[in-house]
Symmetry: D2
Subunit: 357 residues, 4 copies
């Protein structure tokens, strides 16, 4: 049995590399997973750019699946798992015991964004092995019919994109605008479809993403470099605005456009990470001077094995096929090259799959 493993780490602002670390050991309620497949997330590149401050030696990554390598005694005693079993682990791994988890806000475990532990509060999963806290709640067995690659998309892309739609309070047959059609926005489009939207308007400018967004369910895509997105949405909805808008980018301008293009009584569902500025401004008049019944919600990728099971089922029964998002494939030994491409999104990269086997 090996004692050490290769990990892809952040060495400091803008610097990454592969290092050797000891394979982690689980506490009584934890598990350790041997990684088989992982995806790189744009938020990994934000982290390296300094989004959560300077870090040295922190293993990156939060979208990974693998097989159970070791179980803590209580995790083993649960009888739910066995060694070697294939499992997916969500990017967010709450404790499911604290006040915030009891309230149902598991992504805010122990405080703001506290469910986000991988590559933040502890080492991430872009390594040959990774540690999972609270195994009973966080290890999601992968159904036989699913490949590792498919399951990996549930860890963040499906969970985050879909919650954008779940929070958007879409009436059956309602109209939805999804701002930005990157991987999370594409999955928000699928999510809007899954919640029964009758009209989905994507907002995007990159031709490859426009094409994908139509494949994934947009009825119309507005290219904001060609026309004003808010005006276009207003025209498409007979001057009323959409029932729901999903912000899947994380920019003040996009957020403002969401408020403006949503009708009174509608919902703005934010899933974009807002990385800049002291404030994110709400346009006052279009917000109804604070009385327009427009609801603003936000979310951080909901975790937990129960949700993961539902997300994987949607792939299993053919409701969703995330694989068209895999534009590139790499072996883990080539992770640095893959990561560099993800930083620049060169070659139209949407999601690169990293194989460990």
């Amino acid at each position: 049995m090996p004692k050490t493993m290769k990990c892809f780490v952040m060495h400091g602002l803008g610097k990454v590399g592969v290092v050797e670390k000891a394979i982690p050991r689980p506490g009584p309620i934890d598990a350790v997973i041997r990684t088989t497949a992982a995806l790189i997330c744009t938020s990994d590149t934000h982290t390296v750019a300094g989004a959560i401050g300077d870090r040295h030696g922190l293993t990156l990554g939060h979208e990974a699946v693998g097989v159970i390598h070791e179980l803590g005694e209580l995790a083993a005693a649960s009888g739910l798992f066995k060694l070697g079993q294939r499992v997916a682990v969500n990017a967010i791994t709450p404790c499911y015991a604290c006040d915030d988890c009891q309230r149902g806000y598991t992504s805010q475990c122990g405080g703001m964004l506290g469910g986000w532990k991988f590559a933040n509060a502890k080492d991430g999963s872009m390594a040959e092995y990774f540690h999972v806290n609270n195994a009973v709640a966080n290890l999601a067995p992968i159904p036989e019919g699913l490949t590792d690659e498919q399951a990996a998309y549930c860890c963040d892309m499906l969970s985050t994109g879909f919650v954008g739609a779940e929070h958007a309070n879409i009436p059956i047959g309602g109209s939805v605008a999804v701002f930005a059609q990157g991987p999370v926005g594409l999955m928000a489009t699928v999510g809007a479809r899954l919640r029964g939207a009758g009209l989905i308007i994507g907002v995007e400018s990159m031709p490859s993403r426009i094409a994908l967004s139509k494949k994934f369910g947009c009825d119309v895509v507005v290219d904001f470099t060609q026309e004003d997105a808010v005006e276009a949405i207003m025209k498409l909805t007979g001057g009323k605005g959409v029932d729901s808008a999903i912000e899947a980018l994380g920019s003040p301008a996009t957020f403002a456009a969401c408020i403006k293009s949503t009708r009174p009584g509608g919902t703005i569902s934010n899933i974009g990470y807002h990385g800049d500025g002291d404030t994110v401004p709400i346009p006052r008049l279009e917000w109804g001077v604070g009385m327009g019944d427009k609801t603003i919600r936000t979310a951080l990728c909901p975790g937990g094995s129960e949700r993961m099971g539902r997300l994987m089922r949607l792939i299993e029964t053919g409701r969703v096929d995330p694989l068209p998002m895999t534009t590139h494939r790499f072996r883990f030994k080539d992770i640095e090259r893959a990561f560099k491409m993800m930083q620049t999104k060169e070659d139209g990269m949407i999601k690169p799959l990293i194989s460990f086997t």
Copy 2:
């Protein structure tokens, strides 16, 4: 201009026929529609069998579309409509002003089931012309891209079937059982699909309906004449039961099976009309002795032009195609023959379309 019209009426228990009546005139906020297409509903046959008591000369029908023939002065002044415009009118036509409507329970307008006016509190729509109360709220313009036949399905079938799914509190990727796959059950299946169910189990025994239910979105169909439906659902859900069950038949046995096959914390959504017996029994133990967190909801076809607009949009953007339910087509002059077939469901009749043009 003609002054009279042909109407298909109930002459008494078990007796129907066509009679001549004066074309109705609208009050200030009402409208009169010239019918172009209509569907017969199984509930019309219940009415003739005595479900709402003995009636003499009551025009039947509540699933009809047409063109605006006359508008009351205030309805005209709204500027929303013009004579000759194609409109669909939901089976349920609430006043939208009373206490119950203000509370949001428009189907219970003015009291229990009070939104149900057609062929109950007033003449129905299986006639060459029909009267619509509260025109602003109840006349739904038909989009150009929709045929009259498609729009007619929104009046009851889509609205009732879908509300079964909307009330079922289906988690994204969750499991749903739909009991009975008649036209309302089929649309409940479509509704479950539209709300993001990851696994839909139909319960049905007629081969033609089993085939349609798969076409409309069931992943599995349990034939309750071949196996116990509750046991089969338990097996399909790993012993847990479904997240949501939809009762689309209206029988005590089916209702009990819904309770039994739904997991604790799940929802039973009843849309079946329960016509017999003093009580509808809840099985005590499977209800968790009154503490199992199983929610029971019910609904009567929600009306209103806003909802009708969303339902028609789902057809327009290709999310739903109800036409496979039209198994038979008739001219209005043959309404008696069509109705007789609907009473017996002979020749595998699901929905017969009646044309007035």
Copy 3:
């Protein structure tokens, strides 16, 4: 019978006065009320200061009760009312028929803030008589046990204050901060109490309002001129922040403080009118960079006779007593003096009651 009436109008920016107008006549579904009591609202002073633009001859006022003077034919035919009956009419008088009303957003009737008709889309109620559209939905009979003064408080103060609490998603026993303890904030405090808050923290600096806020249900009042409100709230909640914050002022600083003092997963409920600036900024970090599960809701005073009935019942059964807010009383002939005092809030004015009898 008199043909004309005295009305208190806006003559232009900053200018008011009393003029004579014809007594209005009702359309078929409307009513005309002879006013008996009214309250002046701070928003009337905003209107005169230009909040909705320059207006000439517009009758002010939207918090009034009276007796039915005349009913339109359909309103009379409803059988719900009789001439001379005491009724209260909410500040917001939706049509209850349009798309937005059907969706349940009656305050947004026909478009943003469109339910607000008095002293905006039509003459207000600070006159000897006033017109009420859609009488069936908007005339709320006053129970015998209530005085006109008590009922007048339901028209805006209770409805707006309470909806602030209803939208705040307060868990039973949860913690709530109510920013500003003017009349609407005081009623939000009462509302938080009515929804089961376990800890209510008021934020206010005027001693007379601090005293009233404790009377109406605040457990603690933070004087923001003496200490930082956000820090004080954090300390009072063990560093966690409140479950819910209610913004009852309408200032960017207060709104930002609401976001900052609400815990992740909590709700910010805005009922303050935001009159200044292009934007209302959300503090980015305390919003969880758009992922902190903090929900922002807004509302405009919900109307309708059904709600009015519930609000009046709360006074009738002794749950609420709004009368301590009446700091001053005037006859209608002294309306100009009363209004001038309301503009400056001199003499600690909170609400002035205007009597017409």
Copy 4:
């Protein structure tokens, strides 16, 4: 340190007594509490009568508070607790990790009613010491201002009674009927008050309970031995029925009366334990033949330290005072006598407090 403790156990159907057992030891995530105060619950008497089958040597009790005697290593490492600290433990102690807990249905932990572990799946708390699983989620520190007796009421009475009101979907100012005013019904009355009910109608016949129910918040109490409860409620609500009915007894007749006295669109919230019969019948016609928009919910006492904290806060800030329910007081050495009285409710016993110190 003692190694053994006295426990009040069920010896078989109808038989109870005090026995000596080893003091339990905690697993890594558990705790052991030294009991200071406890309440006897009517459901303990049901258990002894055979409600959950024959049991031998099972310690009874599930409403107890005490001080932390021993902590498992991970519970200690959480840093949340210290030995000797006063804590309350809810009757229901979910794992907060399984599928059902992740879904938010913690009382259904691991399956139907599975959160109910005390005196069911493991020994109860009517003993000198008791074991608590999943300590981080289940140990609720008692605030300084609360007595042990007050805190003990949060373990079941407040949590169960209040959830009856929380599930009842009471509109602000709405009308509520609470059927049966035993300790749980009394707390449902308080809960209805806390959720903003404008009219609370109790249904009860025992004079002492009628008196208490008025003290705790009923506006009217209907004595069903003197008049028909449904008719009386209809009369009190102008023929409409209540917005919400709470079943706090667990009898088919009461449940049926709840359905009958609730208006269309209203909610029936069941918290009574239904111990008899194969089925609990819904009256068909008053249920709107399955289409009346009447929602039926159920609950089992929600647990967890976060909720316990909110319940205790409501006592701390003076919103609720449960002590009038303590009609009798005993030392633990007299537990058998206390229990016998609770079986017969002799001497008007409502809740007997058992002291261990």
